[in-house]
Structure formats: C-alpha cells, structure tokens
C-alpha cells in the first residue's frame, strides 16, 4: 500500500526538543544523566583508550595517537544506555475508529504518530528503541536498535501497519516475554478496551518492566455528540446496538467515566503511569505528561 511515510509535524518536533525519555530509575536517587552504565562499547561519549587487539576494527584505531606514540590504541566510549524503549501498538480493529468529523485521523494514526514521536526522542538521546504491533495473527516485532536507520525502518513499517482483528491471545503474545528486557521502558499505545491488553501490561509491570500506558480515545467517546438514530457497531465482535444518541448520552458518559476511573485505579495499583489522549489534542501531549516539566500542550 503506497502510503506516505509518517512524519512528525515541525511544531511537534520542536516541542520534543524539551523532552527526554526517563525511566523511573533515572528520576530516582541518582538524579543526573540518562541511563548511565559502566559497559564500554562504541558509543559517542569517550571512556578510555585501550591497546589494540587483533580483531578490533581498524576504523576504531585512533590515528592521531598512533602518530604521537607509534602504538595502536583503540578509543572506547561508554555504552550509554542499557535501556531499550519498546512501543507496544495495539493493532486490533477497534484502533481503526475515527471521528466522523475527521475520518482520516483514526486512533491507529494517532498511535503511529505517537510512536514516531517516542522514537524521535529515543533517537535524539541515543537510546535503543523497538516496536511490536499486537496483531491477532502474530506479533510484528522489530528488535531495539539505535540510530536513524532504525527510525526510518520504523517509519516504513508503521506506514504498512493496518489494524484488524481482535486483540491477540496470550499464546500469540508469548514471544513478547523473550524480547522485553528487565529494565526496558514499555509504552503501551492502545484504546485499553481489551481485557487482554490490560492483563498484559499488568503482568509486564509486575515483572519489573516500567510500563507507560496511553489510552487513545476518540472525541466521540469523550463527548458523545450523537443526535438522532444511530446503529452503533463494535468492530471486533460485530455486536451492534440501535439507539438514539440523545437518549444514550448521559448513561454512556456516566458509565464510561466509571470504567475509566476503574481502569486508572487498576493501573495505579501495579504502578503503571498512564494518561489518556483524545484525538483532538496535540499528539505529543502524553509525552509531556510523562516526561515534561511544564504544562502539557493543549
């Protein structure tokens, strides 16, 4: 399917400059730096010189030092981040829902763009990032890497991603446990209507992963602006309900508000930070809620 690759709008990109992906550990006692570690590797921050050993890449030899000392030294930099950022994107059919007022901006589109924003943050600070699309026919997994190549791969892969089917069952989800490391940061982008999804992130949180959940809601779910006769259809089960918008509104808003409060309580109990993103808000708002210092954009 020939779709334009996802691009982040310039104003969002400039707002992202103010943000940094931090885990809870970063914000804890140590107080500075981003995901520091003592592992040496091929990063940018200089750590030390060591003597050349056969097998090292010639391009890693410091030729200026060789000119001074006539010996081969290899530059070693700190492997900055042991933390991988995972984006779990719910690809069930309910994610395809868009508002009637803006039919080309579905929940899925928002999830993709939000994932791109997270990837941009990770790219800017050199973290590894990977993604998983949770489809019922099997997970689409991209292992975490850092760098612009990974970002462009993600752009292409997400542009191809379609939302269909139901939320995958636990058996389909099992490869997930092998991939997500113990200290990884997991961002869960979903409408959070599926019990399977909530159970998954609960287990992840209990297993020590830091999980941030973004509940993507449409404007219609928030405001319920229906007036007149409608045939409400649920995408995944196909269930339908015929009713009058005005008559349904009050009870829906009350019950939906209760459900969201129950969800919030449930997530907080296991320590999952969460926020809701409604489709008419700025796409980077959840990131400002999670990582920002000032007020989030509207």
């Amino acid at each position: 399917m020939a779709r334009p690759p996802l691009t982040i709008p310039p104003e969002v990109r400039s707002r992202l400059q103010r943000l940094a992906l931090r885990t809870r550990r970063d914000m804890g006692d140590r107080g500075y730096g981003m995901h520091h570690s003592r592992n040496k590797g091929a990063g940018l921050e200089f750590a030390q010189y060591r003597a050349y050993e056969p097998g090292d890449e010639p391009r890693r030899i410091d030729w200026k030092l060789f000119a001074r000392s006539d010996k081969f030294f290899v530059r070693e930099a700190e492997e900055e981040s042991p933390v991988s950022v995972w984006m779990l994107i719910d690809a069930s059919a309910s994610m395809a829902q868009a508002d009637r007022a803006r039919a080309d901006w579905s929940r899925m589109d928002a999830a993709k763009l939000l994932a791109m924003c997270i990837a941009q943050l990770a790219l800017m600070q050199g973290d590894r990032f990977g993604w998983m699309a949770l489809c019922d026919h099997g997970l689409v997994v991209a292992d975490p890497h850092r760098g612009r190549t990974q970002f462009e791969r993600m752009q292409i892969a997400l542009a191809r991603l379609e939302s269909a089917g139901t939320f995958p069952d636990p058996a389909t989800l099992s490869p997930l446990w092998e991939r997500i490391g113990p200290n990884d940061l997991v961002l869960f982008l979903s409408d959070c209507f599926d019990e399977g999804g909530i159970a998954l992130i609960e287990r992840l949180a209990k297993a020590g992963r830091e999980v941030l959940a973004v509940q993507l809601l449409t404007v219609e779910e928030r405001d319920f602006p229906f007036d007149g006769g409608y045939r409400f259809r649920e995408q995944e089960s196909g269930a339908a309900l015929i009713g009058d918008g005005k008559a349904l509104r009050d009870s829906f808003l009350a019950r939906f508000g209760e459900a969201r409060a129950a969800l919030a309580e449930r997530l907080e109990r296991v320590g999952i930070r969460h926020t809701a993103y409604v489709l008419d808000e700025a796409i980077d708002r959840p990131l400002h809620v999670f990582f920002g210092r000032g007020a989030p954009p509207a």
Partner: protein, 380 residues
Amino acid sequence: MTPLLLAPLGLAALAALVVPLLVHLRRRTEDVPVDFAALRWLDPHPRPRRRLRLDEWLLLVLRLLLVALLAVLLARPAVLGWDDEAPRVLAVPGIDPAAARAAAGPEAELRWIAPGFPLVGEGAPPPHAGVSSLIRQFDAELPQGAPLTILVPPVLAGVDAAPLRLTRTATWRIVDGGETAAKPAAPPSPALAVRHAQGQAAALRYFRAVAAAWSDAPRFEAGPAGALPPRKSVLVWLVPGPVPASVSDWVSAGGTALLADAAEIAMPAASEALWRDDTGAVLVEGGALGEGRLMRFTRPLVPAAMPALVDAAFPARLRELVSPPAPPPARVRAEAFAPAAGTAPFALPPRDMSGWLAVLIAFVFLAERVLATRRQRPAA
C-alpha cells in the same frame, strides 16, 4: 379598517403546510451506522424517543410562512375601510385647464369628468361626454367623508334629465371663461327623391308641394325607378310591386325610405304605427332597418283614401317623420343644476391587497432561497 378574504375557500391551500413539515421531519427510520468500540458502556436498553424531531428550524419557519402566504393569496385578501379621504376636484371638459387649476388650488387632485377620470394636465383634455352620469359614478365610488368639489362652466352640456343627487354635499363652483357653445343652426330641410313607375306620377305633386312647403329653395327630384339617390336624401318609393333588394340594402346602410302602400316588402320586425289620423287609423307604419329607417304608407296616396294628403299640416307632419330624431335636451344653466345631497351612500368594494402580498411573498421566497443555499448548511 377590516381585513377580510374575498375567496375564503382558498385557505384550504393551508393543507399544503404539511409539505415543508414532512420535508423537515428528521428521518429517524434511517439509523446511521457508526463504528463505536466503546459499545459495552452503552446502555443496551435505551428508552426510545417518540418525539417528532425537526431539522433547521429557521428554514422550516420560512417555508411554512411561504406556504401560508400563498394560501392567503389564493384566498384573495382585502381590506375594508382603508380609504383615501383626501379632497378631490372634478372639472368638466371644456374648462380651461389653467383656470381649473387656479380654482382648485395647486395641490388638489384635479380630474376631468370623463371615462376613467384622467388627471388634469396629463394629456389633452378629453372629449365631452355624459357629465351627470360620470359625476354620479365618481361620487358613488368615492369613500364617505372625502370632500368633493366640481368645477363647471356657466352652461353645462351633456347632462341628463334627472337632477343630480349625490351621497355627499359637493361644492359646486361655476368657473367663468369656459367655452361658450354657439347656438346650433337649424338643420336644413330634407331633400326628397321620388322614384315612381312609368305613367304613375299622380302622387308626385303632393311631394313636390311638400318640398316647396319645407323650404324656399326646395330640394326635390323625381325619376323612374333605377338609380338610387345619395344616402342623405329621403327616398320616396312609389313603384308598385316587389321592392328590389338594392333599395332595402340602401336603407340598411343608413338611408331613410318612405314606401307607397302598393310596394311589397317585408317590413322590419320592430315596425310600429308612426302616424295615426284623428280616428286612430294608422297612416304610416315603419321602424329601423339596419342602420336606416323604413316607413310605408298604409293607404293609397289619393285624397279619397287619405284625406291628410291635402291637409295643411301634411308637410310639417311628413317632416317630423323623415327627419332624424333630435337628440334629447342636454344643456342646462349650471347654477340651476347644483347637486343635492341625500342619496344613500353605496358600499365601497374592499380594497384588494394581493399585490402587496405578492411582494411580501417574493421577499420571503428570496430569504428562503438565501437560507437554503448558504454554504455552511448541515448535511441533510
């Protein structure tokens, strides 16, 4: 001021009000399908809404108004008692327009007494025609309470025999300087043209004597049947036997003919006795034929059968018969003809308001179109 409807049955068109209502009734039978993932939080048994619901109230109101106004237009609205009670001035044609204007005042509504009552100063003064009838008409059509002034010349022509009695006390003003009609000259004596059969000229001498009695320069000619005289002459037809069709055609075209009793012709259906003698016996009968007049003696033109032939009054009597009927007297001294008040006023016809209503309908229609074709219109 009483509004009323001249054709109240037109209000039956108000039934058409249901059409815009139906157009605007929300089609609730169509349930718009919409994807909604949060279905499980919808009330599965919503209370049904039975109320009728309507879209686009303003447009609906305009359309209802349009239909209602059209129905009222069909019912022909009118207003009773909404009358213009400005003073009016009438002038008899023949008065100098400048004198009439001076007498009426510069602002007054000044009209000629003529069919249609044209305004003085617009176009040429109309010809003189039935003055008293027109005054009665104007008075009857004028609302009660509107003062009326009538400007007349000293001698008024074109009046009829009845004195003027109007519904109001009109001001009767005699304006000098109008045209003074000259006393009409006496009509010339009729010309007699006698047509007789060969050798039967005995009666000729009576008519020659009549012509001589009428005028010092008698206009008389006689001849055998054949060429007919000009139509102004009076034809005296003494030929016995059937009258040729050329003679009846001549009469129908406007001639006057006097036939002898021996002439055989079908007399017009409207024939009546025109001259009876002292004993009451009919001497001349006749009537109109086409545009002319056809008369016939009922007795042979010999003194034994008709003693009036040799009577001294015969020429005068004959002249009365053949002369065209004189117009009725129509001239009167204006001061003697001043109108009296006292006739019961006539009920004025209600003023028709359809024109104004049509203008209003046009505006409402315009507003409806503007509203219906504006850009930001919610999708139906």
